[in-house]
């Protein structure tokens, strides 16, 4: 039994405990919550936030921040929709072009930040405005629909009873987790976030690496934008505004430190699960909109406090023995 306990306890970080407590609470209060179909529903709703939060995780690991992801997602979906509708471009090609646009936005963020040494808030905030403006201009502030809906399988499709986005998110998660843990570039990311000067002195090309990570964050926002397009089958520039703060919240609540060098995509996955479960649960229980906002705010604070000072006294006892 002790061995089992010792294997499980390191998993029970604060946010995981909070998520499980929430699941239990919501299951008691609403009968539809604790069901496989609702689980599938939560996964679908959380998949877009997960993808964009993975990109944000990498930037925050560098002790940076990317405020542009919300607008860049919107730009991707609008570019792709317009290409398919007006340009009669094949959906796959249009999607690739959309993702490329997002990656370029990320690249610009990275270059302005790392080569000109500007605090990352500034270029990504400026990019937020430009990407939003560009998306609005492309779509003339209209909603674009009526394009071929072959992308929809990405979100609505099912395979072995599990939603398609689950496979996409799981594949991306494992790839990124492996990248961070087991590749030189992954370790370099932690090194730059932990001690940039030391990373540079170890021969890591810091500026190049940072630029690549911001471009990667743009790239992930692009993929999230495509999945968003598949989900709503309509493209509107302002629909994805808000994902920048939601993704930062998911990353930080999950346990990745804003100071950089600590955390990872696994923690972010938990953060995303927590936020998605919270929002779905409040709807299932039928809490009125106004109070829902209050509970989301309280939930975020509780999740963060639980991560930084772990809840279970038993856990703390174990950690004290180890230190």
């Amino acid at each position: 039994m002790a061995r089992l306990v010792s294997r499980i306890t390191p998993l029970l970080s604060g946010p995981v405990v909070i998520t499980l407590v929430m699941i239990a609470l919501f299951s008691l209060l609403s009968e539809g919550f604790f069901s496989p179909s609702n689980a599938v529903n939560i996964i679908r709703q959380a998949s877009v936030l997960a993808l964009v939060s993975f990109g944000q995780t990498f930037v925050i690991l560098l002790a940076g921040i990317d405020l542009s992801v919300g607008a860049v997602m919107g730009l991707t979906s609008c570019v792709t929709a317009q290409l398919m509708l007006a340009g009669h471009v094949h959906p796959a090609v249009a999607a690739l072009f959309g993702i490329a646009t997002a990656a370029v936005c990320g690249l610009l963020n990275g270059m302005v930040h790392s080569f000109l040494g500007l605090n990352p808030f500034v270029p990504t905030f400026g990019m937020w405005g430009m990407a939003l403006g560009a998306a609005l201009i492309i779509t003339e502030e209209r909603v674009i629909t009526g394009f071929p809906s072959s992308l929809r399988f990405l979100h609505d499709g099912e395979f072995l009873g599990l939603p398609a986005p689950l496979f996409l998110v799981a594949a991306v998660f494992l790839l990124l987790h492996l990248f961070l843990r087991a590749t030189p570039a992954g370790v370099a990311t932690y090194a730059i976030g932990g001690n940039e000067a030391a990373a540079r002195l170890s021969g890591i090309r810091v500026r190049l690496h940072k630029t690549a990570i911001y471009a990667f964050s743009g790239f992930m926002a692009g993929i999230a934008g495509i999945l968003f397009l598949a989900r709503s089958n309509a493209a509107q520039a302002i629909d994805t505004i808000g994902y920048e703060f939601d993704s930062i919240a998911a990353v930080v609540v999950g346990g990745t430190s804003l100071m950089g060098g600590k955390g990872g995509v696994a923690q972010t996955l938990v953060g995303v699960a927590l936020i998605a479960t919270l929002r779905n649960g409040l709807n299932m229980v039928g809490v009125n909109l106004y109070l829902q906002l209050v509970f989301i705010g309280l939930g975020l604070i509780l999740a963060y406090v639980s991560e930084s000072r772990s809840l279970l006294p038993f856990l703390r006892l174990r950690r004290a023995k180890e230190a």
Binding site: G32, S37, V265
Partner: protein
């Protein structure tokens, strides 16, 4: 660091492999209808909520009214997905965007949950019926009244709703249709203020600067009309201001002469009719008509003359359903 990979998988698997709770049998009085509106910070939708709840009380069914956290159609889709999981008996949806909401309706169709489309026409998905006012007609009423008031001659400025929103497009279509038939009336500018009071005040300030003489301001909703009239009052200019929705604050402004008139868009009636038809469909299996026009009866603009009469009839209606009006 190994623990993190376990951590991620645990969260995914736990959520995916939950076992189903037993489905409670549905008692007739236990019918639950959800009304999803665009946002609950605008008085028009608050009255629609009251209408829906009133109809619910009449049929003895449970009605919950939900609105998205953010004015984005994706949030409405998320609410519909959650309602599907909650196994509500029917969803009445007022889409922020008729095209954007289609994938939400299709999901409800797949779950065999009937959907009633209200106020803004959805461009796809099966709905058991549509009720709403004829936005184009509202635009025409407003436009015609303005032309008559200006005796066919004068400068007009139009404040449109959120660009791309179906209701904004249709109301704009109605207004411009009428104004085109009056050569003497010149449309100086037609720009959006996103159905928002603060935005309307700012845009109006700039329009007052741009055009020294404006005779009439046509606003696609009352919130914008109230914002515009403040800017006009501050700039010590005089011109007619016409809105749509006939919310109480506008009626007060009409009596004070700050706003020339408004058009009733029957928020309460829309809510009531939609829930009423849905309840009848669920309880008495009466298929609602494909297209129900709500309350286009009051086909005239409410002005100083008939404002009091209109307000009295409205409060009586509310009282009938036991709704306390502040």
């Amino acid at each position: 660091m190994k623990r993190c990979v376990w951590l991620g998988c645990l969260a995914l698997v736990a959520v995916a492999a939950l076992s189903g709770a037993a489905l409670a049998a549905k008692a007739p009085g236990d019918v639950h209808v959800a009304l999803v509106v665009k946002d609950l910070t605008n008085r028009f939708f608050v009255e629609m909520k009251w209408g829906g709840e009133a109809a619910g009380k009449q049929h003895g069914i449970k009605v919950t009214v939900l609105a998205p956290e953010k004015y984005a159609v994706d949030n409405q889709i998320r609410i519909m997905e959650d309602l599907i999981q909650k196994k509500v008996d029917a969803i009445v949806i007022v889409p922020i965007d008729g095209a954007g909401i289609v994938s939400g309706i299709e999901r409800a169709n797949k779950a065999r949950i009937p959907v009633f489309n209200l106020n803004t026409l959805a461009t796809g998905g099966e709905v058991i019926g549509f009720a709403g006012i004829d936005h184009v007609q509202l635009g025409r009423i407003q436009g015609q009244w303005a032309v008559d008031k200006l005796k066919g001659k004068g400068n007009v400025v139009i404040l449109e709703g959120t660009t791309g929103a179906s209701s904004a497009i249709e109301r704009q279509q109605g207004v411009t249709e009428v104004l085109k038939k009056a050569p003497g009336v010149k449309v100086l500018a037609s720009t959006t203020a996103k159905y928002n009071r603060q935005q309307a005040m700012k845009v109006m300030e700039d329009l007052l600067t741009r055009f020294p003489e404006i005779d009439m301001v046509l606003c696609a909703n009352d919130a914008m009309a109230l914002g515009a009239k403040e800017a006009i009052k501050d700039a010590r200019r005089t011109m007619g201001v016409v809105g749509i929705d006939a919310i109480p604050e506008t009626l007060e402004a009409i009596q004070k002469g700050e706003v020339a008139g408004t058009v009733d868009s029957n928020g309460f009636d829309q809510g009531f009719v939609a829930v009423d038809l849905t309840a009848k469909y669920l309880l008495k299996d009466q298929k609602p008509p494909k297209d129900t026009l709500v309350g286009s009866g009051m086909a005239t603009v409410i002005t100083k003359e008939n404002a009091l009469a209109f307000e009295k009839s409205k409060t009586e209606k509310f009282k009938k359903f036991g709704i306390k009006v502040d």
